[in-house]
Every structure is written in structure tokens, then in C-alpha cells.
Symmetry: C2
């Protein structure tokens, strides 16, 4: 049988870096290519006790069909934290629980975009979001990113050139893959441009709780007087990624359509996990846990940067993130990216070549992404030294 | 702000029967309108122990990111059961875990249908599937259902009239909402027609484990020599609906695209729940549990039918299901459906008017759906008596 796959999925090629991600299951590989939270960041004891309590106290609630919008207690606790810590949520907004931040991104695109509509995105950006847009038949227009966020001239040019743009997708805080944070001035300017061109902003903030240095910058959603920002967040990096819990705060007319779309995707998010999460975020363990995760990544990121300062040639540039999971290295012209990535993998160190994050999958890249949350301290030191030797052209 | 919602979601109207479903939260209402498994059908003790064991034995696996295709152990156990009990799975097939049967249905449509493509469906059918098709911009063409399944002449006419049809959606066993089972002859004929017209079959079998009387009928997927059937199943009715676990068995070229689509919807299904489920289906508690759930619904369905035989006027027709959760009543011309449903609700009995399940939302209906898994025995007796009094025009 010749299968007639829909255009939007037929054209969604398997990732060019599949081989690299496959290599991550090899225990001998030093996995700088991953994006997993550190195993130590999961509050295992709390989750074990909370699961037992929930299944003792309210087993039928935990195991029966739930509400598409999410469990009322977790919605309330999430909305309160968004309001108190991130200045998010106005009268026209509401907050719902989704199956990981990924679902929030996908639902936003499905709700706003017809096939052929445009999503403007930071370039490079999170591959999961880019593929979510592609899977809905949206066209992605990339805008290059400076050290302090999207290039504003290029953003305005993209908005002018694409009147059918429906969303500006942005990870303003500890961006994936670059690890940079958009400045307050640029956030304000991006908001103003979105308003001027009547395009909504999709603000993705999965790492927002993971600032380990520098000053916090207000979310774009906190500036949203006009109801033009859809905000997606996640419990994957602060509780557990395997439990698939995220949230969306958005203007009610948009959110109500996202909920219709969610209902037909998975009816509702896993109830047991929502009840566990609710206990966690409303407990006095939550704040100290966040502090300990931040301290963990502060140390790991610091260690990686320290080793890179020591081992990498000076003409290899890299970002110095103030939070999140990733940093971004750019090679000098004389070093060819794919050859470098292959040599690294042959020497048991996996990094992700930048082309994986390009809005245009055919565009070249001279950069690669490194992750410090997954590898052990010992692996960080050893792996960076190996990369340094390769970059300096030394025989291994 | 005037929000520019995508056509496929802007046109997806909130359900006309929202008010009825809202009423189900009122504890005074006798909920014949629900579709929930009986609370007694959840193996609470097993789940509580399994959750504790999983979080003791393999907490990081349970809480870390997982594989989009699902946990290998649960996939294997599911594929084995499908093969042994339902004759499902050939060399060209594979089995993956999804976030409830609903996600399998939605992914199948997204993978096969461009906007404007046609899904042919039994009429009436499951509202969650119909809305999943609509949310992907597919057009639904309904085929009327006889006592033994789809009307074959009308199915062939629909196939002839719609060369852009991509899927035939069918719940052949204990259909929702009608409770009927498609005969073996019709299954063979539907398969042959799908093959002839080069259209895939989406076989939805969420109630397949719930046969409590009569002879089992082979699944359509078990006849699938040509690789034209996508089969969706669910653990919602035999383990827990709140844990959101379902599965899909389909030819690999189609399944691989469904997996790409799943990855951008929710990355993967909740891992903790998959590990709990795996322990359950591979335990010696599974078969006896299925037997006890079947016995429970045999009793509840029998009780409802017995009371209906006693209390309903003879010109009210209803189906006599051999499994599943629902039965379907058709009113004589002299009784107007909406008035009846409203009077029932005013007397604290909720049923679902048939129009909710129509492929054409504007089409009329003279039928309503009743559920026997949710209400207590006492509620079944009392509720049916009240409906009988209304149907006979007695003053309440």
C-alpha cells in the first residue's frame, strides 16, 4: 500500500541529528547533547510520599476522568505563583494545565494558525516548537538573535513582509539553544511591534524558575495590557519531566479555543500527577527545592564555563547563561562544524550541531549547543578537555 | 483585541449539550449521561502498591523524560495481548503507547488528512473523535448504522462520492453511542470496500475487553493483510481513565509519522503511569480484574434493561449491548426528543440527546444515549422509573 500521508507530516523530515540523540543511550558517551534535567533535581521522596497520600486520600479522583482545564487546586496554585513571582495574569487571562510545555506550544499554533500561516521565531530556536509549527502546516520565518535577544530591525522587516503572521514565538529567558536572555528594552520593543502589527506573542518560559545568577527580567506576559501574549510554562525542570505537566496563561477567548483543541488531543492531563504536583507547589518544600536546583545548575554551568575558559581556543566564542540548561558555542571559520561534531562523537562526546535549531533546516551553522544539567561533574571536566583538544587540532 | 482564531477551531462550536454535562457535577442528578468507568472498576490497591514500588525501584526512569513510542515493557506487553487475544499485529505493524485512546484517534487524522479531506464515520458516533477530525480541518461524511453495523450501500455510496476520503472511522465493538456490535460479515465487507477504494480504516476499540455476553467477533485489524487498518485501544476502561493511557497498532510507515506528530504534541506519555500499567497487565491480577469489571457491567446493564423492559412504553426501542458502557433508545414520533430530555433533567435524570453524536451537528435526532457504568444500582432503578413515567406522560 502506498500511504497518502498529510502534507504537513509528509514534509516533516526525521531530525538530521537523530543519530546524535540515539548515541545518548550509550553509557560511554558524555552527553552534552541532551536536554534532560539532572536526575538529582527530582524530589523523589516527596513524590513517592505524595503519590501514596493521593492514592490513599482521593483514589477515585486521581484515577477517574478529570477536567480538560486541569485540577482546580493546581490551576489555582499555578496562577498564584505566576502572579506573585512573574507578575503574570490579568482579568482577561486564565491559567490551565497542559501535558507538558510542549502541548501548550502546539495548541497555541493549532488555535491561531491555518495551514500556510506564518510563525515568526527566534533563529535558532527550540526544535520541538519548530516541529510543532511545521506539524500544523505553519510556515516558520526566522529572525536572527543578537546577544540581548531578537534583532529588532529584522523582526520588523519580517512582520512587514508577512502580513499573514499569526504568532511571534520567543523564549526570552535562558533561550534554547543559545542560553541568552532578552533584555528588558527588547522585550518592550518586541511587545510594541507585536501590538503594532496585530500579531500575538507566544512566550515560552520553561526555564524561568532556573535563574542562578544576574538580575531577573520581567516576563513579556507581565507587560500584556492588551491581551496579546500566550504564556507557556512547565513543571518539567522543577518537579519531573516524566510526569508531563505544563501550564498556559492566556486571554480567555484564545484559551477557550486551546482547551477545545486539548480536549480532542488527550481529554485532560494525567490526574494523579496533577495532584502530586499540587501538593508539591503548595508545600514548604517547593521554595527550598527550587533553590537547590538553581544551586546545582549554578555549579555545573560554572564548572563547564571554567573548563571551557581553560581548554577552548580563544577564537571559539560561547555564551555565559544566567540560568537554564544550555550554552552555545560558535566556531571560528577555520573549523568546520560537521567534521568537529563527528570527531567529538567518535571520541565519545556528543554535542548538538546548530543546524538542528535552524528555522530553515537547509541553512548552514557554525555553532553547537552544550548542556550541563545531564552530565556528571567528572564528565563535564573530561568532556570539555576532549573538545578542547579537538578544537586545538591535537591528536587524541 | 479581535483574535484571529484558525478556521478549524473557530468553527468548532462548543458542544450543544454542555449544559447536560455540567449537570453531572450535581450530586442529586442521576447521571445516565456520563461515560465514566465505574469507580469500583479501578484496581486502587494494585495501583497504590505499584506506584510505591516503581518510585522505589526506578524513580529516575519514572520521573525523567521518556521515549515518544512509550516504555518498551508496556509496548511489548500490549503487543502480546493484542496478538494473543485479538489476533492483531503483523510484521509490517508496530505498537506504541499514546496519551489515551483519544490521542491515537487525533494523531491518525492529523497524519492522514489535509484540511478539507474527508473522514467517513458511522453516524451517530463518538463526539470526541468527530471533534478531533473537525479540529484538524477534516470534513466528516456520516454513514447510517443498522443493527449490525454500517449500512454497506450507504458506505459504498459515500466512498464513491468522496474520492478525497482518507479514513473510515468505526467503533465496531459496543459502539458509542449505540452499544451495537458490527457483524463479522459486515466487518469483512467494510474491509473489502476500504481496500477497493484505497482508504484506510481507523478501528477504535476502547471497550473491546468489556464483553459480558455473546460471542466475541474478530477485530477488523485481525483481517488486515494489506496494512490498511490503524487500530486504537485504551487502558481507560480496564485500569484507570485518569492515568491517560492508550495504544495504537498500525503499519510502520503510518505509525512513524504518527509518532512524529505525537512528539510535538506531548513529547511522550506519562512514564510513571506507563510503569504502573506495565506491572498491572503483566501481573496475575489482570485477567481476574477484567472478569470482575465484565461481571460488574453485566449486572448493571442487565439491571437497566430489566427496569426499562418494565417501565418504558413498548414503542420506545432500545439496543441490548453485549458489552461496553452504553445503550441507545429511540423514541416514537409522538414524543419530541428535546422536550423529553429537558423534562428528564428537571426531574434530576440526565441522558444525552442523540444530536450530540450526529456527524452533521444540524441534523435532527429521535434518540438518546444511556450509560449504566456510572450510576449506582439504586440510581439505575430510580432513574429508569422516572424516565418511564415521563415517557408514559404521567405526572411526576
Amino acid at each position: 500500500m502506498e500511504y497518502r500521508i498529510s502534507n504537513k507530516l509528509a514534509n516533516l523530515a526525521p531530525s538530521a541529528i537523530r543519530e546524535i540523540f540515539k548515541s545518548l543511550t550509550d553509557p560511554e558517551i558524555i552527553a552534552f547533547a541532551a536536554g534532560n534535567p539532572a536526575a538529582e533535581s527530582f524530589p523523589v521522596d516527596f513524590i513517592r510520599n505524595a503519590a501514596a497520600e493521593v492514592l490513599n486520600d482521593m483514589p477515585i479522583t486521581a484515577l477517574q476522568y478529570g477536567i480538560t482545564e486541569g485540577q482546580p487546586g493546581l490551576r489555582k496554585a499555578t496562577a498564584q505563583r505566576l502572579s506573585q513571582v512573574f507578575g503574570i495574569g490579568r482579568e482577561f487571562d486564565d491559567t490551565v494545565i497542559v501535558t507538558g510545555g510542549q502541548q501548550g506550544i502546539e495548541l497555541a499554533c493549532k488555535t491561531m494558525c491555518n495551514e500556510g500561516d506564518v510563525v515568526i521565531s527566534e533563529n535558532p530556536s527550540f526544535i520541538g516548537a519548530l516541529n510543532a509549527f511545521r506539524s500544523n502546516g505553519a510556515r516558520i520565518v526566522g529572525v536572527d538573535v543578537d546577544d540581548d535577544g531578537m534583532n529588532l530591525e529584522k523582526l520588523e522587516a519580517a512582520l512587514r513582509a508577512n502580513p499573514e503572521a499569526k504568532l511571534i514565538y520567543i523564549i526570552p529567558t535562558f533561550q534554547n539553544p543559545m542560553g541568552i536572555t532578552t533584555s528588558l528594552e527588547k522585550r518592550k520593543a518586541i511587545y510594541a511591534l507585536a501590538k503594532k502589527y496585530n500579531v500575538m506573542i507566544l512566550e515560552d518560559n520553561p526555564y524561568g524558575e532556573l535563574r542562578f545568577s544576574g538580575e531577573s527580567v520581567p516576563t513579556i506576559k507581565s507587560m500584556d495590557e492588551d491581551g496579546i501574549v500566550i504564556y507557556c510554562g512547565s513543571y518539567s525542570k522543577v518537579l519531573s519531566s516524566g510526569l508531563r505537566l505544563g501550564f498556559v496563561c492566556a486571554p480567555k477567548p484564545v484559551l477557550s479555543k486551546m482547551i477545545v483543541a486539548k480536549q480532542v488531543e488527550d481529554v485532560h492531563t494525567n490526574v494523579l500527577s496533577q495532584l502530586i504536583c499540587q501538593r508539591f507547589v503548595t508545600s514548604d518544600r517547593f521554595e527550598p527545592h527550587l533553590e537547590s536546583v538553581r544551586a546545582l545548575y549554578r555549579r555545573k554551568c560554572g564548572l563547564m564555563l571554567e573548563e571551557m575558559d581553560k581548554c577552548f581556543p580563544k577564537d571559539v566564542k560561547f555564551t555565559r547563561p544566567e540560568g537554564g540548561l544550555f550554552l552555545w558555542c560558535t566556531l571560528p571559520k577555520k573549523i568546520e562544524l560537521n567534521g568537529f561534531v563527528k570527531t567529538a562523537l567518535a571520541n565519545k562526546v556528543a554535542v548538538v550541531p546548530g543546524l538542528a535549531f535552524n528555522c530553515d533546516p537547509a541553512a548552514p551553522s557554525d555553532s553547537f549547543r552544550m548542556n550541563y544539567s545531564t552530565p556528571s561533574d567528572e564528565q563535564i571536566v573530561r568532556g570539555v578537555r576532549i573538545l578542547g583538544q579537538i578544537l586545538r587540532g591535537e591528536t587524541l
